[in-house]
Symmetry: C2
Subunit: 351 residues, 2 copies
């Protein structure tokens, strides 16, 4: 586990529905998984210190930095940028920019976090717009999809850049050596879809990413795990992700109703309970908590706002994976190669 | 059941993976549910007649019309339009146009069916583009979503027209008296989304549909059943629909794996089997088979190409519901009212 000495993660202690308790307890779970990590907490010290009282092991690997203000879920991104300079979220991001920590994790306001992270960390050379990426379970293993909502309108070059970012994500976080990548579309034939996806496909057929460009996939290919990386605009990606989350909840609800529908079914449930708990763990959204803002000069992970300590620990885990596997350096190298030798395989060293 | 005397449904007997057997047997199931319906089969009589041998009751309420050619799944829409004049699909549509049947059902090539139906039946006055609509189970009951893939790019006025069509669908097929309608978006706040959804929302706030305009919903609201009618462009709608279908399959797969994972779990499955079969029936895509091409001067229902007789019978059922509840007349009235009295409530007579 101790791959990187002196790894530090800054945490927006005040972001999320159950903050700051959830954040501190989440860090305590992450501490046991990642003993090499030091935690930089940014938040209201008066509220944070009492929580640390019962967690001496966490306190030993943590620093608490006071922040006067908190970005709320209702703050508009522009407002957060202008007025949020002393906020817990902003100070946590600033620490990454100054090199005092390797990544930031926040369960706060997504729009504000993206605006601040973009302003402070800046987008990487070669990337016009950052994207939100996350991974989820499939029939085959796990896949990554992006953009999940940062950009509601995307052109072909945005989509191509997302493909490169997703490729790096698959290699660094999912550990897939040669990821397969596809564009989400309404059909798999070349003539399908709107101009942006068709143009992006034409470019991606020329620019060899590490792995294989699969062409187009459809919505049902997400769960099938047809490819490792699914690229789409932020509008479609956000709708697809939430449609999937809603369906998982609906199925779980139907399943509970079925088991409650007769005495026999209830007995059946009791016998099958350990197996069903394993299923529940498998589709547990907390396991897949931690969306990454890809394309910035720094690692910024957004935790679901409503998550608990277990979920938040997983978001920290995603940040740690990104840092330990040199996600930023990999992406910079891939883009450099795309720019300096157009048509050549970015990251071809890995092929 | 005998609401309408002399109701006729024309069937593309050659469309679908398992056609023509599936189509004929599907009609035989539908015959038992809808004794008032007469079936007009269009297809290869040499192949059709032997199938009818064992189905005298169906033969008694059916006419078989010979068609020389078949539109294949690989035919491009333009090609089907030009060369498919004698095809089973085209003749089945023509019958609706001539008033010889009240609706057409086909499990064939979607793009070809849409192109032909649009060419033959024409779009309704007030509607620029037809849309594909379908309904599916939710936590509350059932909802309709459109467009599911007919139009990959949509402007605000397309979306507004889809909202009116969806509203009519909810009233006629789902039997909801005052449907709630919403636009699919990446957030519920007014400022969210791209221009088309924002403009469409502004218009829909003024044009009172029967029922209530809810504003924006997100992907997870589809399964929640937050509203009766979900309106979106064909790209997003197609991806959302297929993402949901894929997730249902993934969950079923995980569930089977769980029940097979231990002896106790297998016993549990045996006890809970009747309840689980009820669940399976509840999420069975065949139950929700039958997508409607809304906005044409005639009822055209697209069955899933891979469905079986049970699924095809349900697609026929959707067509029968549309006919019996006067879907076309309702929609024409609503659009007339929107055009003649802008700002007034279309279909307000129903309020």
């Amino acid at each position: 586990m101790r791959l990187t000495a002196g790894l530090a993660i800054s945490l927006d202690a005040m972001g999320g529905d159950k903050a700051p308790d959830m954040v501190v307890h989440g860090a305590d779970i992450a501490r046991q998984r990642f003993p090499q990590v030091r935690f930089q907490f940014y938040g209201d010290t008066d509220r944070l210190k009492p929580i640390f009282k019962g967690l001496p092991a966490l306190a030993a690997v943590s620093d608490i930095h006071h922040a006067d203000t908190v970005i709320t879920m209702d703050d508009k991104p522009g407002q957060a940028l202008r007025a949020g300079r002393g906020s817990s979220m902003r100070l946590a991001i600033d620490a990454v920019q100054r090199g005092e920590s390797n990544a930031v994790v926040s369960a706060g306001n997504t729009g504000a976090l993206m605006a601040m992270a973009k302003f402070v960390l800046k987008t990487m050379p070669g990337i016009d717009r950052p994207a939100i990426a996350s991974f989820f379970p499939t029939m085959r293993s796990e896949s990554v999809m992006l953009d999940l909502g940062a950009n509601v309108v995307c052109d072909a070059s945005n989509l191509v850049q997302f493909a490169v970012m997703g490729n790096v994500f698959a290699r660094t976080v999912l550990g897939v050596r040669e990821p397969s990548t596809a564009l989400l579309n309404v059909g798999s034939e070349e003539m399908k879809g709107h101009d942006a996806v068709k143009e992006a496909a034409a470019i991606l057929r020329l620019v060899n990413l590490p792995g294989r460009f699969h062409g187009f996939v459809e919505g049902d290919d997400i769960a099938k795990g047809t490819v490792d990386v699914i690229v789409t605009d932020g509008f479609t990606g956000n709708v697809a992700l939430k449609s999937i989350e809603g369906t998982v909840k609906l199925y779980g609800y139907f399943l509970r109703q079925s088991f409650g529908s007769s005495l026999m079914a209830k007995f059946g449930y009791l016998l099958a309970r350990p197996a069903l708990n394993a299923l529940r763990a498998r589709v547990d959204p907390r396991r897949y908590n931690g969306a990454i803002f890809m394309g910035l000069n720094g690692i910024c992970v957004k935790s679901h706002g409503g998550t608990d300590a277990f979920g938040f620990a997983n978001a920290i885990g995603v940040a740690v994976d990104m840092v330990q596997n040199g996600a930023i350096e990999n992406m910079k190298r891939d883009f450099d190669q795309m720019i300096t030798t157009p048509g050549a395989a970015p990251g071809s060293a890995a092929l």
